[in-house]
Subunit: 359 residues, 2 copies
Amino acid sequence: MAALAPGATIGIIGGGQLGRMLALAAARLGFKTHVYAPAGDNPAFDVATAHTEAAYEDERALAAFADAVGMVTYEFENIPAHPLAWLAQHTPLKPSADVLAFTQDRWAEKSFLSDLGLPVAAFANVETPADLAAAVERVGLPLVLKTRRFGYDGKGQVMVRRAEDMAAAWEQLGRVPCIAEGFVDFACEAAMIAARNATGEIVTYDMPRTVHEDHVLRRCHVPAGLPAGVEAAGTRMARQIAEAFDYEGVLAVEFFVLRDDDGERLLINEIAPRVHNSGHWTEAACAVSQFEMHIRAIAGWPLPEPARHSDCVMENLLGAEADDWQKPAAEDGAVLHLYGKREARPGRKMGHLTRLKRR
Amino acid sequence: MAALAPGATIGIIGGGQLGRMLALAAARLGFKTHVYAPAGDNPAFDVATAHTEAAYEDERALAAFADAVGMVTYEFENIPAHPLAWLAQHTPLKPSADVLAFTQDRWAEKSFLSDLGLPVAAFANVETPADLAAAVERVGLPLVLKTRRFGYDGKGQVMVRRAEDMAAAWEQLGRVPCIAEGFVDFACEAAMIAARNATGEIVTYDMPRTVHEDHVLRRCHVPAGLPAGVEAAGTRMARQIAEAFDYEGVLAVEFFVLRDDDGERLLINEIAPRVHNSGHWTEAACAVSQFEMHIRAIAGWPLPEPARHSDCVMENLLGAEADDWQKPAAEDGAVLHLYGKREARPGRKMGHLTRLKRR
């Protein structure tokens, strides 16, 4: 595919805040956008040139969508495989459906990373009752049992401390295919946003230190305050993953940072084939945000250096915190972003605030 | 009017690049947008939540528009007075129709500024043949004869060097009401973007030095490289104008910079009651852009300090220059913005590029 020229329409699957921010970034490069999402609260519709509200299985709607766009990308990875495969046959889909197949399945993802020689926690597949004891043996205790598919923000996972609790944990998760992962006693967490385009250009952003509360991202600190060698290792890993997939688009890698007497080292927690909450700070602190970089990467545009101009701390506004918008709106040197969601359910990501610090 | 809360709809009159960038900025604060514009190439429609394509005189369309929005603003000042007055009676209109009445008429504007004691070039009203000689006497030669209404980017003006050419110049402009302005032999030009909200908060951006070619803005340099006293004087003038109007929104003031043995001083060239091309750099170099500041100011939100984080040079992409988008798209440390216009007519503003410089 040649570079997609301004004026073309970029299709975006998913109507949440990531789709919304992708649409805003695409517009700044002169693109039109068309968002496809099932019925619901779809704030991305409000800023897109066009939108289709239809189920993922609605082949007629998908066909019309494919006809209306120059290419398709997506804002989240839990999209049924069949419509994506269909779309990929009718219009360029980036990142590719192959990448998505790996990242939709925690076991396939961990196996892929492990096969690349990248550091991950011990893990084991759990598909039958016989796998339960074997998984405990292989992974050790405590462990975290997670559904292989459709988990996010801590949903679909159970901590297991004793071997005899494995069966109940699997029962609780509905006896679906699971992965057992060794529990990681990390010192802190970090992330890396990378982008790669079809010509093989790769850029990476500075590593944020990430802080989660109740399994949901709360804050990102940039710079992370980690040794340069740790950040360099994260950059190398992100590049290696992007290259192994022939990746096109933005890729997020989430890390555990382990600390012992020898210093810090990274374990990869998980990867996401999309723009990511741990990269929202780039919109406020870099010349080119992760959202624009994703659009550039999928459209076959050049990838400039992100050029971070400020240190910063990004904080998510969750649930009713966004009702208090007048307080963050009054802060000097802060960049406020609200997502235009209709309902502020508890814990729901409603916006974010990035406080810039003069370097 | 209390502060407009996120989720409300902001109406924007005018569908060009300024309306588009206002809509993008409003979206980032969680607002919906509704753009109203006559038929034509309206790139703002592509990013607005809703749009109405109708003539300004279409009262039915205006009524539906007023019903659909929480307030109305506009992206340019050459809107017929009658529909605006009608709108102002049915929904909050900001900046006010009073302000617009002054800035739609060069003679009223100059008189207003002069009455405030602000420095402007000599000027005289030309409405009848008898005014021609009087204007030359009052203003001196050379002078610039300009239509009082509907001029922009050098359209509707003629340079007059000899008294005997006045009648022909007025003929050329259609014998409409005009203003004669003393020709200013400036050293350079500059501008000031200010914002004021209903509670009287005022913020100003750093002063850019502006460079025009063929009466169209070509580049802005920030900082301007002018003495601190000159910039402070520009800030004071912009504040004085905003206060005199009880202004709500972003206001642009364009200056001539005169240089003589005593140093530099400013003359006000013209003011615009809206976001302005000389403030586009703020999007790339400040935490809060002029577009967001305008939305905040009209919505009654707090106005944070703009917090410029980088020096920069903004360059307009005119006409076919935008066809060459791949070159600016590849520049490191530059922020590219393309407006999504369909046709690149010669001299037409198609986008802009802001090159950031590490301070």
